[in-house]
């Protein structure tokens, strides 16, 4: 039985478990204390001093996000002293903040702006020394503008939580700034592009490298056939960018909105998620039967691939050779689709909409640079929809274009941790035993960092593991290398919770982040989409049948290998 502590916050009595912070207790009393460096499940440093409160027994103001509650404590969160202190803190932060709010992409979605409004703070109270740092746009995925950085260190903690540590605080005092070791550009650091730093940034210091203008150009170029396709998780998150509740499935409105941008086609990437499963399940069975490098790791996540190439190159033979659904779709369009329709692939402009910053890097990889022209994050798509004056929430529901509209529920769950595993198990089991009936594999669902299960089909027993978050992937690899664990098939997604929590997803206000379990709510929408679908197994998809009959013959055929598979190379980076 956990000991409970009784205290009063602004006169309201609350009882919370021992060890809770004042901030936890305030939330229980429905009192919001402003925060800036604090972010639930990410950062708890007590360094920005926005959450200062008065508490009996404490000397001076204390940081509510880290200060533990005590029996009989009385806390005041909204006194003149608190407000003055917070206001001064904001004025000092703003004294060295680049004031480019008008065109900042985080404008109206910025914690600093929100707080400044709340505390009636102007930008020019203190005219500080200009501290100009170079803009880092060296990587294909993330841009860092340190002149907008408020040194909250949320990005540093996010990167450390991923076990990457590509960035850290450099220098001290006024000179302090966030960057890579030896102030090298991000592109030369061990950054894998997962983008967790971007979604955790409270201001506009971090963003994806926007490619919106390339897409506008293509859309107004009459010689180009522009094709959009959307990744499984976008339907579960795009609505958030239009103030819809977290976890709303907006598939129909998403298709309608993209169609109003006037591309030639809007396709469903779940189709190539199904195609990936056909290829990957076949590869897995082959590897198991021939004892070829096992365990086999999934290869859908480009940040994970980059991580293996630079940190564990000895595991490269264990990566599935399947391209990701994004790359498969691009490759399919520029081969099968182009041939079938008599179009020069050079006149195709392929745009994927993905929840991810690393996918921008993936489509720039030299092994497959021709497949996809531009990868847009959910945020970039939302921005295009807003620029085009489309009233998203009022749109009717529309359907994807044929022939790449129909996909199975297995494709939809690709966006959540455990989803690729479950989708692969559904089809692999069917391939091994035609009478296999089980569709759902609850052991691999949920947001626990590492999940394990053992299944037996047609006399074959396979041990599987699922990890999300690269630090957990590292744990699994170390356990395999030490011989402590033995698996046959492992799904890795770099972002905690999988693509639904990807680095390209909408950035939400701290008040939402601190109260809603994003990963769970968004994943729920995908599992609902799956259970509402009559087709649950990739192998049962009529579209997949057509693709193989028309073009690839059978999974892992010579042609499939040439177009749908890829290779990796070691690239050690410290």
């Amino acid at each position: 039985m956990q000991k409970m502590i009784n205290l009063k916050i602004n006169g309201i009595s609350v009882s919370v478990p021992e060890g809770s912070t004042i901030l936890d207790a305030a939330r229980q009393a429905n009192i919001e204390i402003p925060t800036l460096c604090y972010l639930k499940n990410v950062n708890k440093e007590g360094s920005c001093r926005m959450c200062v409160v008065e508490a009996t027994g404490a000397r001076g103001l204390v940081a509510a996000c880290v200060y533990p509650v005590a029996e009989g404590m009385e806390v005041r969160t909204n006194t003149e002293k608190c407000r003055q202190s917070r206001k001064l803190t904001l004025e000092l932060i703003l004294s060295k903040h680049k004031q480019k709010c008008l065109s900042c992409e985080r404008s109206r979605n910025c914690e600093l702006q929100r707080l400044s409004l709340g505390y009636n703070v102007d930008e020019d109270k203190f005219k500080g020394e200009d501290f100009v740092l170079p803009l880092d746009d060296s990587s294909p995925y993330i841009v860092r503008d340190n002149d907008k950085c408020i040194n909250c260190m949320r990005c540093v903690v996010a990167c450390n939580n991923q076990g990457i540590g590509a960035i850290g605080p450099i220098e001290r005092g006024f000179q302090v700034h966030v960057g890579s070791a030896f102030d090298r550009p991000l592109a030369e650091s061990p950054c894998v592009g997962c983008g967790q730093c971007v979604v955790d940034c409270p201001v506009g210091a971090l963003s994806e490298k926007s490619e919106v203008s390339k897409v506008w150009d293509a859309l107004s170029d009459p010689t180009k056939q522009v094709i959009f396709f959307t990744a499984p998780s976008i339907r579960a998150t795009l609505g958030e960018a239009f103030d819809m509740p977290v976890g709303t499935d907006v598939e129909g409105k998403m298709v309608a909105a993209i169609r109003r941008l006037n591309p030639d086609y809007v396709f469903n990437m779940d189709v190539t998620a199904d195609l990936t499963i056909m290829e990957e399940a076949t590869e897995l069975i082959k590897r198991i039967k021939t004892h070829k490098p096992l365990p086999m790791f999934t290869s859908c996540c480009p940040a994970w691939i980059k991580f293996v190439e630079q940190t564990y190159p000895e595991m490269i033979p264990n990566l599935s050779t399947c391209k990701s659904p994004q790359q498969m779709f691009g490759a399919l369009l520029k081969s099968y689709w182009a041939e079938k329709n008599g179009i020069d692939p050079a006149n195709l402009f392929v745009v994927s909409v993905i929840p991810c910053t690393a996918k921008k890097y993936e489509c720039s990889r030299e092994e497959m640079i021709e497949d996809v022209d531009v990868a847009l994050t959910t945020r970039e798509l939302a921005r295009m929809i807003k620029t085009a004056g489309i009233r998203f929430t009022d749109l009717p529901d529309e359907e994807f274009d044929n022939p790449f509209a129909t996909a199975t529920g297995a494709g939809a769950i690709f966006g959540a941790t455990g989803g690729v595993m479950e989708a692969a198990l559904r089809t692999a089991a069917k391939m091994l035993d035609g009478d296999f009936k089980v569709i759902e594999f609850p052991d691999v669902r949920g947001t626990s960092p590492i999940k394990e299960a053992t299944y037996s089909v047609a006399g074959i027993t396979i041990n599987v593991a699922v990890a999300s978050g690269l630090n957990n992937a590292r744990t699994i690899i170390e356990q395999i290398k030490s011989g402590e664990k033995k698996y046959d098939f492992i799904e890795i997604m770099s972002c905690p919770g999988g693509c639904v929590n990807g680095g390209g997803q909408p950035t939400l206000s701290d008040s939402i982040r601190n109260s809603v379990e994003l990963k769970e709510a968004r994943a729920k929408a995908l599992y609902k989409n799956d259970s509402n679908n009559d087709l649950r197994r990739s192998a049962d998809s009529p579209v997949i049948d057509v693709i193989y009959n028309d073009y690839f013959e059978f999974p892992n055929s010579h042609k499939a290998h040439k177009i749908l598979h890829t290779s990796y190379k070691a690239n050690k980076i410290i």
Binding site: N160, I164, G165, A166, I167, G168, P169, I170, E171, R172, G179, S180, A181, F182, D183, S189, P190, I574
Partner: protein, 164 residues
């Protein structure tokens, strides 16, 4: 980073570093201690040394670099055979130490904190060596020079250049 002199380590230096790391790596918070020892061995902390430390301690290079740049006693620049330390403490400063430092920088063609490409001289500033009666004061290794004026600098440096 502008390392004028190229980093080269002897086998002896590297094995000393490895011994220090092995000895203290199980102690929590050992990074500071190892960095201090490493600076003692190599005279400074170039990327090569920081990389070895990061790998052996299983921490990120960015974390090591963050610590090195936080504390002013750590140096990313190599030190010269002759380490010039110009006092910029109050007494020396009011007696024109800044002009003397400017002259040193001019004569050597490097900035304070740097090392000449031939590795002969490095220049740093310090705060009070306790010889205010001789202000402005500088030290070259263990030699003390007082009551300095800019025109004395060339002659002093030449003395060391001749010895080599």
């Amino acid at each position: 980073m502008n390392n004028n002199a190229k980093f080269c380590a002897t086998e002896e230096q590297l094995s000393k570093l490895n011994a220090v790391i092995e000895e203290s790596k199980s102690v929590p918070g050992c990074l500071m201690h190892i960095l201090q020892e490493a600076q003692g061995i190599f005279g400074y902390l170039p990327i090569e040394v920081q990389t070895i430390i990061a790998e052996k301690l299983n921490v990120s290079l960015s974390e090591v670099y963050g610590v090195v740049t936080f504390y002013s006693q750590f140096s990313l620049q190599p030190k010269g055979k002759y380490r010039i330390s110009m006092c910029l403490g109050t007494a020396c400063y009011v007696k024109g130490a800044d002009k003397v430092l400017e002259e040193i920088e001019k004569q050597l063609g490097i900035k304070c904190g740097e090392c000449t490409p031939d590795g002969l001289f490095s220049v740093d500033s310090c705060r009070c060596v306790g010889a205010c009666g001789l202000a402005p004061v500088m030290m070259i290794n263990d030699d003390v020079y007082g009551k300095l004026t800019p025109d004395m600098i060339k002659g002093i440096l030449d003395k060391y250049r001749e010895v080599k």
